[in-house]
């Protein structure tokens, strides 16, 4: 500590100096904040102001900076001092822009600013500049599991960018599902005719690419390690095992078509009723000639039944739309029309969905004379003369059409491996010594794709309908297994063009992962972060909460059952820190102390002053930006709140809540991201974890003799700028009704 020098810089620009007493703030920083050096500047983020700070770091030996100016989200580049620890006191978005104007509010505005200066000074004193952990030996190779369109695209994209790629394909040839197609839907204008798939060319390029090594007839037998140091055992059909070291993994294991045998009401299993894959086989066999049925008869009329076993509301079949099937049926109808325009082709749809430029392709099929009819098939009977009984949704009548062949457009079922919920249940029983469960576990693990040697199970977690982990909108490739990226139809239904775009993105994410792993940086969403969790194991009680609650499976257990952190798998959310009941887990620049000391630094007035104090713990990803946005839009909220950004609500340790309440705060409000199936939490489970933990805090409050309303948890989206202000004001009102905390004066 002897070498540390603390300095505070207070900016009076952007109107801060007009409404706040900057001189008083300087005194606070000096006397209460115990800063060795305090300076103010009328325009701190300009070249001169920044140079002043740089000079102090270089010449005066300043190691810790408290910058009291705008939000930490603003001017991040100007106020970047890599060798110094930096805390930001948010006087602009957090105080002057959100506290109502006018001299009536001068006193509480100044108090709020003073508290933020106290908090900034207190925080920076507990911070250490993260040293980082550069790993020169880290592998930059990328493993691609699956050799279909997605896998081949990802492999070629990564290899062309200069990275070595290992591709593992379980069949004897590359190409996946697309290899069995006669043609594909067009990707470029005029979007009128089916095109060659291009699978052979891609496979040939992979075969001769100097940076791609392909294992055919092979599966992954084991995946151990972490980003930058994954150890992969590749098992060949012959039984031979090859060991590969890679830095990141792309899982492109694709889909299987929904089994038409499960659709007996639509003729599944009957003669001359096939699925789209079956028709591709027939078309390939015809090789441009007349398409013939299994009995050798030329097909003169064909009906395509869309959404077969899809978009099912009864819970029997797939509940979702697979997205590609309408365009695929259009393409297949063209196989017939292009060969012989007199063949009757009917596409029976409920909603024709042709994403991308599919509308042009649809029109092209209409030009060719394909009949489109909006109807819902009720019953299909196969045989020599197939019959489709259906409801015509335009003419509003039950009717029927006959055909030589019926094609069912069935959906995509992801090849996502083991459902971890099922696995966890069996695993718990197996660990309890149940022999039957042990066998079940072996059987289940045999179906695993990645065979991860993680304590959290052999595959990545799955979402709704069994698709592999990903977030549809915000971070599509990210999974809860850091450095492993799901792409293609394994993560959501998609067509070939979408799969190619998707796979290119996944390759880029994998490249980012291997680069970050080597530099000791975290992956999304804190991709710059050099800090990583450190545990004081001498204080650990082996409660296993951190290992269980880590959303990313980053923490294993060592042979003595202590947590074993896999730093490269860690996303730095701090959920382990929030979970730890004995508070032995911390980051260099974010810990129970950095936040705890801020909470304690606030000056809590006594109960007679009628100035409540409410602590806001706001997630830095969405809630804190929303608070900033409220400021930017000059939406005012109560000056009785003190907001502290946290990495994720999951990192909130209950000690902060008890500390706050013990210090006389009247309420604690937590703002995190949306949880549940449609989560927006950047760490997937952090917000959910926080809500769960807070649901159990009632007992603690009772012990303290406090009302349960004194702790509130809210879900907030980044766009909720007006709402956060409303939530704050409503909560302050609620707290005023309850009255001041009885804990005041004891802290």
């Amino acid at each position: 500590m002897a070498d540390n020098k603390f300095a505070a810089y207070i900016c009076s620009g952007c109107g801060i100096g007009d409404v706040l007493n900057v001189g008083a703030l300087e005194k606070i920083a000096q006397k209460e904040g115990k800063m060795a050096m305090v300076k103010s500047h009328p325009f701190l983020c300009n070249a001169e102001g920044v140079q002043m700070i740089r000079d102090d770091v270089a010449n005066e030996g300043v190691t810790h900076l408290c910058i009291a100016a705008c939000s930490r989200r603003a001017k991040a580049e100007a106020f970047s001092f890599p060798t110094a620890a930096v805390a930001r006191a948010n006087l602009r978005e957090g105080v002057i822009w959100v506290v109502a104007e006018g001299s009536d509010h001068d006193e509480i505005r100044q108090e709020m600013a003073e508290d933020y200066v106290r908090m900034g000074c207190a925080e920076v004193k507990k911070m250490i500049v993260p040293g980082g952990n550069v790993k020169e030996s880290s592998s930059k190779r990328i493993l691609v599991v699956g050799g279909g369109i997605s896998g081949m695209t990802a492999a070629l994209a990564a290899a062309d960018a200069g990275y070595e790629v290992v591709i593992v394909e379980k069949s004897a040839a590359l190409g996946g599902f697309a290899r069995n197609l006669l043609k594909r839907v067009p990707f470029s204008g005029p979007y009128a005719e089916p095109q060659a798939t291009g699978v052979e060319e891609m496979a040939a390029r992979i075969g001769t690419h100097p940076r791609i090594k392909a294992h055919l007839n092979s599966t992954v037998a084991k995946t151990a390690g972490a980003p930058g140091r994954f150890q992969i055992s590749v098992a060949q059909e012959s039984g031979a095992v090859t060991e590969e070291t890679v830095g990141a993994v792309v899982q492109a294991t694709g889909f299987t078509t929904y089994d038409i045998a499960r659709l007996p009401e639509l003729g599944g299993g009957q003669a001359n009723v096939v699925d789209q894959a079956g028709l591709e086989a027939m078309a390939k066999q015809a090789n441009g000639g007349a398409i013939k049925r299994a009995d050798g008869k030329e097909v003169k009329s064909v009906v395509f039944v869309q959404c077969a076993g899809q978009r099912d509301t009864t819970g029997t079949h797939l509940a979702y739309c697979s997205g590609h099937c309408c365009a695929t049926s259009i393409k297949q109808a063209m196989y017939f029309k292009d060969q012989n325009p007199d063949i009757d082709t009917v596409v029976m749809y409920q909603d024709l969905r042709v994403p991308g430029m599919g509308e042009d392709f649809y029109r092209s099929a209409q030009q060719k004379g394909v009949i489109f009819t909006k109807g819902k098939a009720g019953k299909v009977s196969g045989g020599d003369n197939c019959k489709v009984e259906f409801r015509d949704l335009i003419l509003d009548e039950d009717t029927a059409a006959d055909a030589d062949l019926v094609v069912l457009a069935t959906g995509q079922v992801p090849n996502a491996g083991v459902d971890l919920d099922v696995w966890t249940e069996i695993n718990t029983k197996a660990e309890g010594g149940d022999e039957a469960a042990k066998q079940q576990r072996r059987d289940l693990e045999a179906t695993s794709v990645l065979k991860l040697a993680y304590r959290q199970g052999p595959d990545m977690p799955q979402f709704k309908y069994g698709f592999a982990d990903s977030h549809f909108i915000c971070f599509p490739y990210e999974t809860r297994r850091t450095g492993i990226y799901a792409t293609g139809p394994v993560r959501r239904p998609m067509d070939m063009l979408q799969a190619q775009e998707d796979a290119t993105g996944a390759a880029l994410k994998a490249i980012q992962a291997v680069e970050n792993a080597q530099q000791g940086r975290a992956a999304h969403p804190r991709a710059w972060d050099l800090s990583f969790p450190k545990a004081r194991l001498e204080g650990c009680t082996q409660c296993k909460r951190c290992t269980v609650e880590c959303p990313f499976g980053a923490i294993d257990e060592d042979e003595k059952r202590f947590p074993l952190f896999n730093e490269e798998r860690c996303r730095r959310c701090g959920t382990c820190m929030g979970a730890c009941p004995v508070r032995v887990i911390s980051f260099e620049n974010y810990s129970c102390d950095t936040v705890g000391s801020q909470i304690k630094a606030v000056n809590v007035p006594d109960e007679f002053e009628e100035k409540p104090r409410i602590l806001i713990l706001a997630c830095e990803n969405d809630a804190y930006p929303a608070l900033d946005m409220a400021g930017i839009q000059r939406i005012t909220y109560s000056a009785f709140v003190r907001a502290i950004p946290v990495r994720c609500l999951g990192s909130v340790n209950t000690i902060w809540i008890t500390d706050a309440l013990n210090s006389g705060y009247d309420g604690v409000m937590m703002m995190g991201c949306k949880k549940g199936d449609d989560y927006q939490c950047h760490f997937v489970k952090g917000s959910e974890m926080a809500h769960y933990r807070m649901s159990k805090i009632g007992d603690t409050l009772k012990q303290l003799g406090l009302e349960p309303e004194r702790v509130q948890t809210q879900e907030v989206a980044i766009t909720d700028n007006a709402r956060v202000a409303r939530l704050i004001n409503e909560y302050v009102e609620q707290i005023n009704e309850i009255g001041p905390s009885p804990m005041k004066g004891f802290g």
């Binding site: 009329s301 009906v303 007199d342 009757d344 009917v346 024709l352 649809y362 029109r363 209409q366 030009q367 004379g369 009949i371 489109f372 009819t373 909006k374 015509d392 335009i394 003419l395 009548e397 009717t399 029927a400 059409a401 006959d402």
Partner: protein
């Protein structure tokens, strides 16, 4: 409804096949555009006479594709079109809906499958017959033909009811009673008739009806 269901069964073989669509494409003005309808229903929603029709254009197009020949050609829908062109303006697929409607009406009329006694069809027939006689429309004869189209008794009643209007027109010199005998003609009636015959011949040849 029972007869409909029966005919539906009888025609099941032809259902949702291209037969009738091809017939429409060959014989109806702009019939080749029927297949391009995407069943959005904007035409049905845009038609000011929508509720008065048996079938909206959207349904007519679907019925054509479903092979419902008798129902389409026997529908009164095409006859109800007032040519306001709302549907053409709004159709996202740029189908010339109004033209197709008139084309269908014309085709149904020529096959004599159009509804008997449909007022628009009747007035169109009277108008045409009146016009081709002299090459000019004889308003007096046309009005009288309209009055008497439902029989002599009804014709007298209609004429009595319109008496005041008729006298008013006479006084204002908007009605010439001499038109009842012969009436005015175009200059070259022979040439006019030849022209009409030739036009019909060309059209018949194009539609394969000759």
């Amino acid at each position: 409804m029972t007869t409909n269901a029966n005919s539906a069964n009888q025609n099941a073989l032809a259902r949702y096949k291209n037969n009738f669509l091809k017939e429409v494409e060959a014989n109806v003005e702009d019939g080749h555009m029927v297949k391009m309808c995407m069943q959005c229903g904007v035409c049905a929603g845009s038609c000011p006479l929508g509720p008065a029709w048996q079938h909206s254009p959207q349904k007519i197009f679907m019925m054509i594709r479903a092979g419902k020949r008798e129902e389409v050609l026997g529908s009164d829908s095409m006859w109800m079109c007032t040519s306001c062109y709302n549907c053409i303006v709004r159709c996202p697929r740029q189908l010339p809906i109004t033209h197709i409607m008139h084309g269908l009406a014309n085709y149904a009329h020529r096959l004599d499958l159009a509804p008997k006694g449909q007022p628009t069809r009747e007035i169109a027939k009277l108008f045409w017959d009146n016009l081709v006689k002299t090459g000019r429309v004889n308003e007096l004869k046309f009005s009288l033909a309209m009055y008497f189209k439902d029989g002599f008794g009804q014709g007298v009643k209609n004429a009595m009811a319109m008496q005041a209007t008729g006298l008013g027109l006479l006084k204002a010199k908007r009605l010439n009673p001499m038109e009842l005998v012969g009436g005015h003609k175009c200059k070259d009636i022979g040439g006019f008739r030849k022209m009409v015959a030739k036009a019909r011949e060309i059209e018949d040849r194009r539609r394969g009806l000759a």
